[in-house]
């Protein structure tokens, strides 16, 4: 059992981890995929570097600093977070338990940029197979995503729907799968009141009654949505202490929106770390 599990190893997550660890808490950082910081070729506007610093070095140094302090930093994709009465269970390649969770998953978009997604939300577009799967009993459904997270959603739906197809929207499926997979990029989602079909960029069309968005960490906040965290557009809504609407779940950095800057991520990570310490002490 960890005191705090942090999802994301950028400047926000690592900063939160440093404060939590230094106060004596057991901290695990889980990360997967590429951070925006890693992609930045040069950062000239962050305090303390005479000639600026490249993003990848800053990112990797942060992870090394956390490990050096005794924080467990593991590369695993988080596929689900569940709140139990006393603690949280974090599903990744392994399963972890924690008293508090900090989401620092970056600013990747919750919704893929496909025409029709916003229009049909709650009318055939869903973000949670366990919640909404039973509305699609015996129907054809599709899952948009290309990672383990998408496969997990497809497996939940397999037992309910008549057919499940995975749409990778131009990406390569990261795991082998028992499901039919369509790799073509999606042009639009169509329907009349509710979803009835998906149109691809090559002009082909398939019929579907339900589309489950399962981008996982690539979509940053969709497991947040499944946990019941209130979002503000594509960002996670937090109070002034970085707490979400769920006690014990905090968010920081690009995931909360606003300035997409390292300095802001470090500040919010600090605050989230301190808030998590406070939460655990008063638990």
């Amino acid at each position: 059992m960890y005191d705090v599990v942090i999802v994301g190893a950028g400047p926000a997550g690592i900063s939160a981890g440093l404060y939590a660890k230094r106060s004596g808490l057991n901290v695990l950082v889980l990360y997967h995929g590429q951070s925006n910081l890693e992609k930045a070729s040069k950062i000239d506007n962050y305090y303390g570097f005479t000639n600026g610093i490249d993003g990848e070095t800053l990112y990797k140094t942060g992870i090394a600093q956390a490990k050096n302090l005794g924080i467990d930093v593991i590369e695993e994709e988080v596929t689900g977070i569940t709140k139990l009465d006393t603690h949280f269970v974090i599903e990744a390649n392994n399963e972890y338990s924690a008293n508090a969770v900090i989401l620092s998953t970056g600013n990747k978009k919750l919704r893929p940029e496909i025409n029709g997604i916003a229009e049909f939300e709650g009318k055939g577009i869903s973000y949670c197979a366990i919640c909404d799967g039973f509305f699609y009993r015996g129907k054809n459904v599709t899952v948009i995503g290309n990672s383990k997270f998408a496969l997990n959603e497809a497996k939940v739906l397999k037992n309910i729907a008549s057919k499940v197809t995975i749409l990778t929207n131009g990406e390569t499926l990261q795991e082998t799968s028992e499901f039919e997979v369509i790799k073509e990029k999606i042009r639009a989602i169509h329907g009349n009141g509710t979803v009835d079909s998906v149109e691809f960029s090559d002009g082909s069309v398939i019929s579907t009654s339900g589309i489950f968005i399962a981008l996982g960490e690539a979509g940053s906040a969709d497991f947040a949505k499944r946990l019941g965290i209130i979002l503000n557009g594509d960002n996670i809504a937090v109070d002034k202490n970085m707490q979400t609407n769920i006690p014990g779940v905090f968010a920081c950095g690009d995931a909360t929106g606003g300035l997409l800057q390292v300095s802001k991520a470090v500040y919010e990570g600090t605050l989230a770390g301190l808030s998590a310490i406070n939460y655990i002490k008063n638990k």
Binding site: T82, K83, E121, G122, K123, G124, I125, S126, Y127, C128, I130, C131, D132, F134, F135, Y136, G193, T194, G210, K225, R226, L227, G228, I229, I230, A237, N245, I246
Partner: protein
């Protein structure tokens, strides 16, 4: 006011024939986000008192109601005024947005 259990049997009487605005929360027991929504609904009932009626509908046990109102994602919160559906929120929604919609 306490939160009512709404079913196919009492829906017409409690919701459609209500003289007060009614907030209903479609949920299911296995749905994680619904568990986050539930205390928000309780709090609204407590805060608004006699001004409104607040109810919860187990969508699994009341599939015909869920189908009638085109529920395809839960939690879904619906506000009824004078027997008509006035506003729908899909997904976990904050207390303020719901209270604003009822006024």
């Amino acid at each position: 006011m306490s939160v009512l259990k709404i079913t196919g049997e009492n829906f017409e009487n409690e919701v459609l024939n209500s003289s007060k605005p009614v907030i209903v929360d479609f949920y299911a027991d296995w749905c994680g986000p619904c568990k986050m929504m539930s205390p928000v609904i309780d709090k609204i009932a407590e805060e608004l008192g006699e001004e409104v009626k607040v109810g919860k509908i187990n969508s699994d046990e009341n599939m015909e109601l869920a189908e009638k109102y085109g529920i395809m994602s839960i939690p879904t919160i619906m506000i009824f005024k004078n027997g008509n559906l006035d506003k729908t929120f899909v997904g976990v929604t904050d207390k303020t947005s719901i209270i604003e919609a009822i006024k």
